[in-house]
Assembly symmetry: C2
Homo-oligomer: 297 residues x 2
């Protein structure tokens, strides 16, 4: 049996196109484009690359992109003041503070300062709470929502399926479990303290791996025909000296002989995150303007 | 093997005594007793009984008890006005709006209006969100927190244990799963759409049943030595005609031959709920006054 490879890159492009198609309608109704502000503190090279990609994707979708860059020495109060200005700025629908922040800044305090209606990352406790209680008016974190979209694209109705989420972070694992529960999966959350993880994984129709440990999940752990979503992006030594390559949390080549479908790394979940960020910004813009959210995004 | 019966009534009495013991210290520091306000709309007999019990337990613990009763015909705005007054009342640390509310009132809107710092039921989205992201400054719903206390009393450290929660309500199932995850259990949430529920239950060291279906969980479903917390309170026909009796979601007599420990119905989880409500009120009072929360409650 050969597994289907879930093409996250292609699906992300389709989602971005759907978002871009909906922008003119919003602009006509609201008299302005949707706006996304990204705040970067310091010069971390990886974060700089992410912020640049986000900015490009935002303008490519026809949205307004604002970038605020603060030096690594910026104080928490300086950052909070930027957040307050963006909260008050009517042309800004989404605010994303690029994480991680320098150690002297309290991330939780910064996230708490973002207007929940503009929290397109879905990290504010109000949005986490809405997700937990099933209130669909909240913003949902981009990566797990992207994973869910890929799962539904692949499997259709997920109701009654056994799902295992490996990892319990606030950014991926916990919201992923909430989303799968809302789809009426029987959901198990596994993590570093889980005993016999291979047995837990083996009974799952759906496996979402989000632990950040290269190729930890082996093919033999996976049930025949399972759908596997690999959130891990781990850099490891490559075949040639001095070269590196990216691998997921699942041993991809090993898994291919067992599963029904799997996301590759790279090209699986990764591209979905920015696409969902644009989607969340478009949704936030409609909600803020009191406009109905377009179907199918 | 005979199972241990977890005496929730006795543990609840101990908790109430610990809360009562801490009240004079609070009163000395704050210049007032902790205060709990309970709001009842309409004349539902069961709700009236609950409200009366809560009031008695509150004063028995040395706290101030306020009761607001509105007619069943009260409008949502009238109820919201009561909530606003209680939010602003400095002697009120906890506000509990007795559910269910009459059909013409939007429960979610009423819960959203309660100051999260006074939301001793833990139902506000801010408190649900804090529980979801692991922020311990929030209020945790009384019934699942009471279940967790009984589990820890019985089993000590829960880390690495397999736990199954049957039921996914916002009031019990979902917060229970969050609490068990925070204790580093491997947590599975099962519900009406779960396939092969008996198999799911059979692999669990800890079973929390919160579905409201009389004696649904059979003894043969339970792993040898499991600890079972039965949240269900179901009234069924009794042995004599015209008589009724209370049973849980677990077939208690059947389970006794399999499990390591189990809560009875009545006398298990039930008495814990009011005790935790008093505990939450005491905690809210300390947090509102900027006083350190006493150890061991």
């Amino acid at each position: 049996m050969t597994a289907a490879i879930i093409d996250g890159k292609a699906f992300a492009e389709e989602l971005r196109a759907r978002v871009a198609d909906a922008v003119p309608g919003f602009a006509a109704a609201a008299g302005r484009a949707p706006g996304l502000a990204v705040v970067l503190v310091g010069e971390d090279p990886a974060s700089s690359v992410y912020v640049r990609s986000k900015g490009k994707a935002t303008t490519a979708a026809g949205m307004l992109s604002l970038e605020h860059r603060l030096p690594a020495s910026a104080t928490e109060n300086e950052l909070l003041e930027v957040v307050r200005l963006l909260n008050a700025d009517p042309q800004v629908d989404g605010i994303l503070v690029q994480l991680p922040l320098p150690a002297h800044i309290d991330e939780a305090a910064v996230i708490a300062a973002i207007d929940p209606a503009k929290d397109v990352d879905g990290f504010h406790v109000v949005n986490a709470g809405k997700l937990a209680v099933g209130d669909r008016s909240g913003m949902v974190p981009c990566t797990p929502l992207g994973c869910l979209m890929l799962l539904k694209e692949q499997r259709g109705d997920l109701s009654g399926l056994d799902a295992v989420v490996i990892g319990r972070s606030n950014i991926v694992g916990k919201p992923m479990a909430q989303l799968l529960l809302a789809e009426s999966c029987t959901v198990t959350i596994a993590h570093s303290r889980t005993r016999a993880l291979s047995d837990v994984v083996r009974r799952a129709d759906i496996v979402v791996a989000a632990v950040g440990r290269p190729e930890m999940v082996k093919g033999s752990w996976l049930r025949e025909g399972a759908v596997v979503i690999d959130v891990g992006i781990n850099r490891v030594a490559g075949a040639e000296p001095g070269k590196t390559r990216l691998v997921g949390d699942v041993d991809f080549a090993d898994a291919m002989g067992h599963v029904g479908a799997i996301t590759p790394v790279p090209g699986g979940v990764g591209p979905m995150t920015i696409a969902v960020l644009l989607r969340n910004t478009l949704v936030a813009a409609h909600l803020r303007q009191g406009l109905p959210v377009p179907e199918g995004i």
